[in-house]
Amino acid sequence: MIVDIGIIAAKALMVLSMVLNLAGVLGWIERKASALIQNRIGANRASIFGFAGLGLVNTLIADPIKFLTKEDFIPPKGDRLLHTLAPCLALFPALVAFAVIPFGDILVLADRTINLQVANLNVGILYIFSMASLSVYGIVIGAWASNNKFSLLGGVRGSAQMISYEIAMGLSVMGILMIYGTLELQEIARAQGNLLWGWLPAWGIFLQPVAFLLFFTAAVAETKRIPFDLPEAESEIVAGYHVEYSGGKFLMFFAGEFAEIVTAAGLITTLFFGGWQVPFLMRDGFHFPWVGNLFLPQLVVALLQVGAFTLKVLFFCWLQILLRWSLPRFRYDQVMRLGWKMLLPLALLNVMVTAVLIVAWQSAPLKP
């Protein structure tokens, strides 16, 4: 009993610290990547005893210290309580959403089989969508409590944008749910270990390529980053909903945004790129088609899977940062048109085509 609770607590702590630390590292990657893209050097000033470490050390240590020691300014005519509550509302859903994403299959330790996932909910993916829908409140409340016209404009833009793209995002994964026949993310990841025609892994990207494009677009829009950064659009409304935030509270908005990137990357990996699956790696080792088998101990298999998941997540984090520094911003009417008139009908069409194909081939669900 105590051991079970300890295992769950350890898993939760591990995933939470992974998301938080990855958010911090992404802050550094974003600076260095933007510098690389714009032919600059990037953060290289601060150093500890002459050690700058490519700017990583100072970004991870100096930045938070600087943020936390800055004055916390609350606008005199703003709302003190809600102004303080808003960053918490923005950070909380971003941190807890990762709980249902599996980061490995199973780990056998001392006769105990541990499911490498924090919370095994039978409505897993709906839980992530519900947390994503709650993250609107941080923006809306922060914008309203600041008592600033730019903030309010950012908040109104943010709430309209996030509600619009939530619908497209939810509908775009319907095809995936129909093919794998479950809402549980661990089951979806396991089903992607099957092989199509004996050699192609049954990953979501091969079965639902259109859904991947729709979902990726909607997920970037949900994280409110360029090309969908209308709620904060620096050149139009200064910094939008967090224009009146400074110090630690701004850091919370900032960390929340990066945690959302990590969660989006984890969800894309799990739904479309096999989650923790390594191609041809089964529970007892590699089974290569035409070549032969390579049996491995369970611990090695589990480590390979967790490593593969981490690499995939890092790749999609990098892709989102690359997008942010290479694309221009949409106009607001373009954002709305893209969401309602392109993504939504395409997602509905994708659901219908998938349903027809599934019924025609009678091949669903692809369970192991």
Binding site: D79, L82, L121, N122, V123, L126, Y127, F129, S130, A132, S133, L134, V136, Y137, V140, I141, A143, W144, L152, G155, V156, S159, A160, M162, I163, E166, L183
Partner: protein, 165 residues
């Protein structure tokens, strides 16, 4: 007292406090946020009853979508503080609340018993599969009628919005 009971009392107490705040707050944004908190707490109550699907949908639809639209409208209109009500209004309102309580108490105190001809909920109760099964077989007609009703409301809203232009 068992631990589920303690959990229930904490959740129920908090949701009563927040739902009272919805009514008594003068500031509209505070009222709306208290309603969000109430809906969230009720969703957690569903989770403790093993009905994860209903709980998550409650957060997704009510706390996450409908209340965001409420706040959207509140921010666009930006009303000030609500005015206080007169004493006569309070007396009438309290009377109505007490009458409602008397109607509800017999039902609530009976809720432990099963109605004749009903079996206790099985193990898969509240799972997505069983919910979809009953929605699309036994209750498909009411379900479709509800969706037609929503469609009528949407068309009505569009017609009203068009007329102004």
């Amino acid at each position: 007292m068992t631990s589920p009971m303690i959990l229930f009392l904490i959740l129920a107490g908090l949701s009563i406090v927040f739902s009272l705040l919805v009514v008594f707050q003068r500031n509209v944004v505070y009222s709306a946020m208290a309603l969000v908190a109430t809906l969230f707490l009720i969703a957690v109550l569903f989770l403790t009853l093993e009905a994860a699907m209903v709980g998550i949908l409650q957060i997704l639809v009510y706390a996450g979508a409908i209340m965001v639209l409420f706040l959207f409208v509140i921010m666009l209109l930006n009303p000030g503080l609500l005015e206080g009500r007169s004493i006569a209004w309070w007396i009438l309102g309290s009377l109505a609340a007490v009458l409602l309580l008397f109607v509800l108490v017999p039902f609530l105190s009976d809720s432990g018993r099963l109605l004749p001809g009903q079996a206790p909920a099985g193990g898969s109760f509240g799972s997505p599969e069983s919910l979809a099964q009953s929605l699309f077989t036994d209750f498909v007609l009411p379900f479709e009628i509800a969706s037609v009703l929503l469609l009528v409301a949407i068309v009505g809203a569009v017609v009203l919005a068009k007329r102004e232009v």
